[in-house]
């Protein structure tokens, strides 16, 4: 019997012949085997020595105990975490009934075995297949982010869920109140809200439970963390160490992807015009004459774009931060993403149009498209291929060892699907 834990093991096998672009461990410029191997996330590999307290107790402890390389998880004063909130939040996160046609759950775009994003789509698909113009961001370490979303449109996990819940192209509920009413009709939820809050479901409590669960999805303790913050000089190989030097030096990546003395979130939580958003909007308005389409492994054709347009809905423009502030100065600005677990959260950029880390590095090495409003931080870097190899090796060292177990906890119960 196929079970959830087997799925991505199967994906590994499929990589051999079906999916040509499956990720492979990055090697440094000297060809040295890295000490950390990128591998698919597999809940079945999670080994827990003492499971007597249950997954939610472990998750609670994780959200209260700083991990190597990470600051303490900030818990709001009015939403202290508890086992009951975490269990409730997990159930809500996977419940397909919380959408208008009882089909979409949060987890459909934030797949645990795919780094709590989705590897299989550049940009997300919502109710009835409606297009979302942006890539699903990982919710790993979202506890530390403020603001949230690519455009920073919300500031707290307690409130961010409302937008996807009612967005017409996401879960499309007729109203947030409709969802709360459902929760207060369902026997399971009635009991769980009482246990977690001593009260019925409400919009606030719904957000608090979801936030409490998401604050358990913290993942530090990567090889880089052990090397930089743990005193383990062997945790990084030479290529990754050289890559870190380039990251903080010639590459100037650290200007936005901050690295502190005690911890590192690899983001400045700020918005920048890297030129990427402008470039993509220009491509939307002026599409190429042909587009390359993969028909089967190793079989590609260049298709006249008119044929593609014939079966395409009009794609929305994306003006980034401007869509929140309506300040012309904010056009095509997007929030700096964290780089933690970046090897496990492909594809990249706010619209997912770059499929590999190398594609991203090449974009920045070229200095972006160079449009007039582009940040001066983005300029040609002159990095050699060997140097790019090393930076890529460094980025691959940012993968945390607990992703299997985070996925296992997420799959501790089957999703509610009817």
């Amino acid at each position: 019997m196929w079970r959830p834990g087997h799925r991505l093991v199967g994906l590994r096998g499929a990589c051999a012949g079906v999916f040509l672009a499956c990720a492979a461990p990055a090697f440094g410029s000297d060809g040295q085997q890295p000490l950390y191997a990128e591998a698919p996330i597999d809940p079945a590999r999670c080994a827990v020595e003492d499971d007597s307290q249950g997954w939610a107790a472990r998750a609670l402890n994780r959200s209260l105990t700083p991990q190597l390389g990470l600051p303490a998880v900030p818990h709001p004063a009015d939403n202290a975490p508890s086992i009951e909130k975490i269990e409730l939040g997990r159930k809500l996160f996977f419940d397909r009934r919380l959408s208008i046609n009882r089909t979409m759950s949060c987890a459909m775009c934030h797949v645990p075995e795919q780094g709590f994003t989705t590897w299989e789509l550049q940009s997300a698909v919502g109710v009835e297949g409606r297009s979302v113009k942006r890539n699903s961001p990982t919710i790993l370490n979202s506890a530390f982010l403020n603001p949230l979303f690519h455009d920073g449109r919300d500031v707290a996990l307690e409130t961010q869920f409302v937008a996807p819940l009612v967005a017409r192209n996401e879960m499309a509920n007729p109203s947030a109140g409709w969802v709360v009413a459902f929760l207060n009709r369902d026997d399971d939820y009635i009991g769980m809200f009482q246990q977690a809050f001593g009260a019925d479901a409400s919009l606030d409590r719904l957000g608090q439970a979801l936030a409490a669960y998401q604050r358990t999805l913290v993942a530090g303790d990567s090889p880089f963390d052990r090397w930089r913050y743990g005193g383990d000089g062997t945790a990084l190989d030479q290529a990754a160490a050289r890559g870190f030097d380039l990251f903080t030096g010639k590459g100037e990546c650290v200007a936005c992807h901050l690295v502190g003395d005690q911890d590192a979130m690899f983001t400045d939580h700020a918005f920048h015009d890297t030129g990427y958003g402008f470039m993509r909007e220009d491509q939307r308005q002026n599409p190429p004459k042909t587009t390359r389409v993969q028909l089967a492994p190793g079989v590609f054709v260049d298709v006249d774009f008119a044929h593609v347009a014939a079966v395409s809905a009009v794609r929305e423009a994306d003006l980034g931060r401007y869509e929140v502030t309506e300040d012309p100065a904010d056009r095509w600005l997007f929030r700096t993403p964290t780089l933690r677990n970046i090897a496990m959260t492909r594809p990249y950029m706010h619209d997912g149009a770059l499929n590999t880390l190398r594609d991203v590095l090449d974009f920045y090495n070229r200095g972006g498209p160079g449009h007039p409003g582009q940040s001066p931080l983005i300029r040609p870097l002159g990095l050699s291929e060997a140097e790019l190899d090393d930076i890529e090796a460094f980025l691959n060292s940012l993968t945390s060892p607990n992703l299997d177990c985070l996925a296992a906890e997420a799959r501790s119960h089957p999703p509610d699907n009817h």
């Binding site: 087997h6 040509l20 046609n101 089909t103 299989e120 395409s312 699907n417």
Partner: protein
């Protein structure tokens, strides 16, 4: 003969390894276990996708009168809305042909229509809302293939990642869950053998059986994330385009065990077995690579798969979709969605199909159904809600033709948008004569 008697007889015949109702279908791709319509098809049931802003916006079963002498021939005589837009797609009668099962690829709901009480006005008999839970996580009920007393349903996706890994799911005729059979994968072959280096991807799409050889064949498409998304967006999404099926699986019909996995790259879709007593092969079309494939038993008694013809110019991606094999096994209709054409292949030598005819049906075309005598051919238009063409090219219709051996001659058409119905997809024939 009541349902249970029929099922018992068919089961007994199956156990003996014979085909009890060899000429027992009107439209040529139906399950061989099913009783046939003698004479002219009287109705066509069209499983139709609701469209926002059109009519009542819901999916519906549309009944069109096909009776030759009827005053309402060629007209919609009944519609039955089921609530919501479920991504209505395929449907199939149960083995006694009294009930029509129709699936929603998005919501996973299965609607069972009573088509025997009044074949001109199907009524909703039962709705199965628990397909995902029943099956243990299968998503996207697609093909409904009748076995004696049972309904074998192919899935397209799964509840974990909504990719292409999926299963076969078996119910009984009462709509009660029986079993789930997950498709073999490279890491869990379930005893199947990969032929010529095929990598079992675990994907699913269609299913058909050749009873006297005790085999089922399944094909492979793509998961929820792809079949629900905008077609043009998907074509430009390199990650999404990597996730199409490239295999077919041969199963043991009796035991439901997978036996062989064949490499058939480019999303093999509809599976069609011939009817000849010595015809040990099946056709399928690979949608993305635009090739006709033959899965056949070789001289040594082993089943193999090979590409036998191009369909149009593959570099133009004509996108072959539905195919229909004539009852005499001599010709095969092949529709190509993106150019809106139907093509007729001479398949008298199944190893060397030759195109002999081509006709533009509309700006887009998906399904084709022919009468048992091959003299009438029907076409509908919709592929998937978000894959259909946009704007003026989004033509939605039922078109009926007579085939005189050299030419398709249109007899009537219904514009499904003008009629405020929606997107016309699967067709199945009905007749009151079955139940008299």
């Amino acid at each position: 003969m009541n349902r249970r008697e029929f099922g018992a007889l068919a089961t007994s015949a199956l156990a003996l390894g014979v085909m009890p109702f060899r000429a027992s279908a009107d439209e040529t791709c139906q399950s061989p276990y099913m009783p046939m319509i003698t004479g002219h098809e009287e109705y066509v049931y069209i499983w139709t996708l609701g469209v926002e802003g059109m009519g009542d916006e819901q999916d519906k079963m549309v009944t069109v009168d096909l009776r030759p002498d009827s005053a309402t021939r060629g007209q919609v005589i009944h519609t039955l809305s089921v609530g919501g837009r479920n991504e209505a797609h395929h449907a199939g009668f149960n083995s006694d042909r009294r009930y029509l099962w129709a699936g929603g690829l998005d919501t996973n709901r299965i609607f069972i229509f009573d088509v025997h009480s009044n074949p001109a006005e199907p009524r909703l008999h039962k709705t199965i809302d628990t397909f995902v839970k029943d099956s243990g996580g299968c998503v996207g009920p697609h093909t409904f293939f009748a076995l004696p007393g049972r309904m074998m349903i192919t899935g397209l996706s799964n509840d974990d990642d909504h990719g292409g890994r999926t299963a076969l799911v078996e119910y009984n005729d009462e709509g009660e869950y029986v079993a789930t059979y997950w498709m073999p994968t490279a890491d869990d072959m379930q005893g199947a053998v990969a032929v010529d280096g095929a990598v079992a991807d675990g994907y699913g799409y269609d299913i058909r059986a050749l009873i006297r050889k005790n085999i089922m064949l399944t094909s492979s498409f793509t998961g929820w994330s792809n079949y629900m998304m905008d077609f043009g967006q998907m074509l430009q999404d390199q990650e999404a385009m990597k996730r199409f099926g490239g295999t077919m699986v041969q199963w043991d019909l009796h035991t439901r065990q997978p036996k062989k996995v064949f490499s058939v790259p480019g999303a093999p879709l509809e599976v069609r077995f011939p009817w000849g007593p010595n015809a040990n092969y099946a056709f399928t079309s690979a949608a993305l690579t635009s090739k006709l494939w033959l899965i056949y038993e070789d001289d040594a008694g082993e089943w193999q798969a090979k590409a036998v013809a191009d369909i149009g110019n593959p570099e133009d991606i004509p996108l072959p979709v539905d195919i229909s094999l004539s009852a005499d096994d001599q010709t095969l209709w092949v529709n190509t969605f993106l150019d809106g054409k139907t093509r007729l292949f001479d398949v008298s030598d199944p190893h060397n199909p030759k195109q002999v005819y081509e006709k533009q049906i509309a700006s887009q075309v998906n399904m084709v159904s022919q009468s048992w005598d091959g003299k009438r051919v029907y076409f509908t238009s919709s592929l998937l809600g978000n894959w259909d063409k946009k704007g003026a090219d989004d033509q939605q219709y039922l078109k009926a033709y007579d085939w005189n051996g050299t030419e398709l001659v249109e007899t009537f058409q219904i514009d499904f948008y003008e009629a405020q119905l929606g997107r016309a997809h699967l067709m199945l024939f009905g007749s009151a004569a079955l139940y008299s």
